[in-house]
């Protein structure tokens, strides 16, 4: 019985060591897991996620969008879906209907005009926002509310193709992964010692048996 338990602990420990090792290598010391970039042909003024596209909350993510036109003014922001729908009502855009990891975006075009009713940076609806020329980097915590991520052209012309990449930042992920390695190694050691104890406990019995024979 001890041998079986010991074997299982060793197996679990080895798996944990492997998983922890892979996670530590993926996140690295900056606790950031970067996904490969995805190119999107954006129709209209911007790229906007619908609430169901981002089904998870929790970790901090960094979204980077790069326009083909290097002098294009870009705005990126996160706001509640009610606010985003109101602000972009009647504006031509591309909606991201689903996000798969590693990064793949499913999209649909929405017809409308190219004009935004206001400079997005002047609004108070954003939970997080950033601006850039040619490229924009937006860092935010994936919210629990029905929030949308938007990337807009602010110079009244179509965005065109955008190269989008994302990275997930999980504070303590590297330490956690290393802790997993340590925990796995510990479990394996416990399992090994259980098997070892059984071997050692057999030796006196064998001796006693030998003595009886003599």
């Amino acid at each position: 019985m001890r041998r079986v338990i010991g074997g299982l602990l060793i197996l679990a420990g080895v798996l944990l060591v492997l998983a922890g090792g892979v996670a530590a290598a993926w996140f690295g010391v900056d606790n950031t897991a970067t996904m490969r970039s995805h190119q999107v042909d954006v129709h209209g003024t911007g790229l906007v996620t619908v609430p169901r596209a981002i089904a998870y909350a929790g970790p901090r993510v960094i979204v980077t969008a790069q326009a083909q036109e290097t002098r294009q003014h870009l705005f990126a922001g996160v706001a509640h879906d009610v606010d985003v729908r109101d602000f972009l009502s009647g504006v031509a855009r591309t909606e991201v209907t689903s996000v798969r990891v590693p990064l793949h975006l499913s999209t649909q075009a929405v017809a409308g005009s190219l004009d935004l009713s206001a400079d997005p940076s002047s609004l108070d609806i954003w939970i997080a926002s950033a601006e850039g020329v040619g490229q924009v980097n937006l860092s935010f915590r994936l919210p629990d509310a029905a929030d949308d991520v938007v990337i807009l052209s602010t110079d009244a012309r179509p965005v065109g193709p955008l190269t989008v990449s994302a990275a997930v930042v999980v504070p303590g992920a590297f330490v956690g992964a290393l802790a997993g390695v340590v925990l796995g190694a510990g479990l394996a050691l416990v399992g090994w010692s259980l098997i070892g104890m059984r071997r050692r406990s057999r030796q006196p019995n064998d001796t006693a048996e030998l003595r009886a024979r003599l």
Binding site: A55, Y56, D81, V82, D86, L123, A173, G180, L183, G186
Partner: protein
Amino acid sequence: MVVAPVLATLLTLPAACDLPHRKDLDDLSKVAAGRSTAASVLLNYDSVRANADARWSDSTLATVEGGPLLRIDAGAYLVSFRLSPDQPLETTPLSGPGVVASPRFGSYPLWFVAELPVPDAGVSRMSLFARKSTTDPWRMMYGPEIAVDATLPEFRTDDPGAAVSVSPHDADGVVMSPARACRDYAKVLQARSSPLRRMFVRDAFLQQMREIQDAQAKLAYASFRQTWSIMPVRYALRLDDGGVLVFATLVRTDRYHVDPGGYLRWNGNSAAKAYLPHGVRHWARLQYDHQILMEIPPVGGGKPAVIGQYGGVVSGVGS
């Protein structure tokens, strides 16, 4: 020997990681404003209001007020400017917010109610702020005053703590719908013999208006007629006891017909004097907007009553 580090790792691992979790996307609505948003809206209101008061500037005030409330305050500016041009309006800053009640919305416009005590005046303003769209500012649309020591009915809240709005024509659980209550109340104000008067509490506002009617009816050399109408009712909230709290605006028109050879003028303290400084020889028409806060009790809980009001003269013509 191995147990200690294993336990330490198990205890610290969940805290160390901000792990992803599925979020609930069944409800895509949002609460119009939490306490911090209400506080920031109030701070902006107070600052703009002080600036507008100092210059009697209704265009400045229009960035933070709207609807009939703006008409009432713009009317107050005109009265103050014409009657006391050397004495700018004294701003009474609002404090708080006290109670903040905000329903959930699936689309714009958004609105919320905040109780804003005015300690210097001994009253609280039950202010309703609305926002038409993301590109519009929050504007105070209603500001009826209630006595600071008055018992404010508690608002009903749903599971996440949002207030529950009521459709103006919804009479579910209450003695009458908000729209009907306000319409019938206006009829009672206009005709003191209306059979509808039995449906309402003879509240302080009703008594005050009766006193004005009685005083004006005694004018020598002029006949007086007062009519009342109601602006469309839009905002109502469910109360904890099942009743409803309604924000509404009543429009009062005072008409005077001066007898031939007579003359009618208003005394120095009257707001009407700002509109008709030289009096009239033939006729005059003054319009007042009164914002009221009406509590409609649940069925079996009594009669509707106006528990707060704010109003003033908004126009005056005559010859």
